[in-house]
């Protein structure tokens, strides 16, 4: 057998080249990040530019479709002078509160229902038909039913947000539970897990990416629910702002409110993504993104 310890020289060369390789990899990552941001901005600028030009030259009628500069003026005047219903931040706060409550209740309800029905075949067979019926009810009609039943306060908007969120989350949680690996469930069972422990330690983690996928889309839905609720009758909120602007043929106002809603959605989206990255850190990276 030959001596196989590498010469000290070679080890030093290797370590140096690894350091270089790693700093190169980091630089690549930074560069990519900058490119993504750049591209996003480019798209945004091109889009807004075309819109503004279109509005200026009347390809796009600003009476109907507003114009970026008009929208910006509207937002600025809301910020500085407040809206007809009071300060802008209050409108945002009211809508956000309704949305958030509706989102949390709807998501928890959807997850719970999804898990219970996903774990119990008989319940699923019996009840899923009723869930499907409920899902076919037009939300706008439900809106008036909620206003009749719950009044014009926050409750009816929250309820509308809940019904927007519930079905999406339910459908995914249900399917996520059904997709849980049967060998893994069997393993947990044999290791001594009670049905409840199986649910918490196997079913929920494996349905997690399903649930998270539905949360991404359903926060937007909760927002829509709250705004529609405010549309039907409210004292405060972004929905009322839109409705008033519509009534006054103020397209800039309508689009300005929608942009504020979009920013709200993006902020929450960012938080959900953070949460998701925390939860799924155990996940393998795709091949090729793996070695350092």
């Amino acid at each position: 057998m030959t001596a196989i310890s590498p010469t000290a020289d070679h080890a030093a060369v290797r370590d140096a080249s690894i350091a270089i390789a790693e700093s190169r990899a980091r630089a690549r990552l930074r560069h990519r990040h900058a490119m993504v941001i750049g591209l996003r901005l480019a798209i945004l600028i091109v889009f807004l530019g075309l819109w503004e030009l279109g509005a200026d030259y009347n390809f796009i009628d600003p009476f109907f479709f507003a114009s970026p500069s008009g929208i910006w003026q509207q937002i600025w005047s809301w910020i500085t002078e407040g809206t007809s219903q009071g300060p802008l931040w209050l409108q945002i706060y009211v809508t956000l509160e309704e949305t958030f409550l509706g989102f949390v209740i709807g998501a928890l309800g959807g997850i719970a229902a999804g898990i219970i029905l996903g774990r119990n075949r008989l319940l699923a067979d019996v009840f899923s038909i009723y869930i499907k019926i409920a899902n076919s009810v037009p939300r706008v009609v439900l809106g008036s039913v909620f206003i009749i039943a719950l009044g014009l306060g926050m409750a009816s908007k929250v309820a509308l947000a809940v019904v927007m969120v519930f079905f999406v989350v339910f459908a995914n949680a249900f399917q996520g539970v059904r997709e849980a690996d049967r060998a893994m469930i069997a393993n947990a069972q044999i290791l001594g897990a009670s049905p409840f422990q199986i649910t918490t330690s196997v079913i929920i983690p494996s349905a997690m990416s399903w649930i998270l996928a539905s949360l991404h889309v359903s926060f937007g839905f909760a927002l829509v629910g709250a705004v529609v609720g405010e549309f039907l009758g409210a004292k405060q909120g972004m929905g009322l702002l839109i409705s008033t602007a519509q009534g006054a043929f103020n397209a800039n106002g309508v689009f300005a409110a929608m942009i504020i809603l979009a920013v709200m959605a993006l902020v929450v989206e960012f938080i959900i993504t953070r949460f998701e990255n925390y939860l799924v850190k155990w996940r393998p990276a795709p091949f090729n993104e793996q070695g350092a």
Partner: protein, 284 residues
Amino acid sequence: MQLQPMAAERLSQAAPPANAAIAIDDVTLRFVTPDGHMMTAIRDFTMTVAHGEFACVVGPTGCGKSTTLNLVTGLLRPTTGAVRVMGNPVTDISRDIGFVFQADALFPWRSVIDNVAAGPLYRGTPKAEAYERARDWIGRVGLGRFEKHYPHQLSGGMRKRVALAQTFINQPKILLMDEPFSALDMQTRTAMQDELLGLWSEQKSSVVFVTHDLEEAVALADKVYVLTAGPGTVKSVYRIDLPRPRVMADIRYDPKFVEIAKVIWNDLREEVQLGQSRTLQTGH
């Protein structure tokens, strides 16, 4: 030399002794095939494992070994016949059992130590104690440096060792293992075999061990079941009366061992060839 096929055990239709740890009594199990027909996976299968007995199962691939273990755990139900564990009919998945699956069944979202500690935690062991025992077992399977790794960051053999630690830590009264060591190199395999025998003799547990390595089977077992090519049924049963404790590194050189292995090997080869010719006939 008392080496004799105990085929009588298979042929006798008398109920197995009530006090057996595992009793599979004249079981047939059929699956529905993709074209809607029924396929018999195992047929007229009878097998008894006494308390504290170590049984190995060998047979050609696809003959029904994993199916048999799944019957004992309660993951599959027999079409006809009865399966009893510790004297009780199997109705649900039993907690007395330890099962090392043939395929990977680790929890991918749990690190190695969380995977190994799962069993004790499920069974209500206090957290500190569960993790201490888990750490102990991780050391025993040689993965001390990988406690915090997730399964996808381990090699195939390492994952298998995590699965072993996960099962062993529960110190099950009944231990079922489906080709547990086939992904390990010889040296690690020997160490694991010693670990298994230690656990077994300490716990007086009953073991059913499926393997393709006949020498491994003979080295470990009290009793070796040879199955026929699928639909599987018991072809012969051999009692291995090599003295215990057995030292895995040395036993292969025992002349008695070599002789036993040869006899069973001839029996098995006959069966495997039969199975092969049968599938090849209907090859295309």
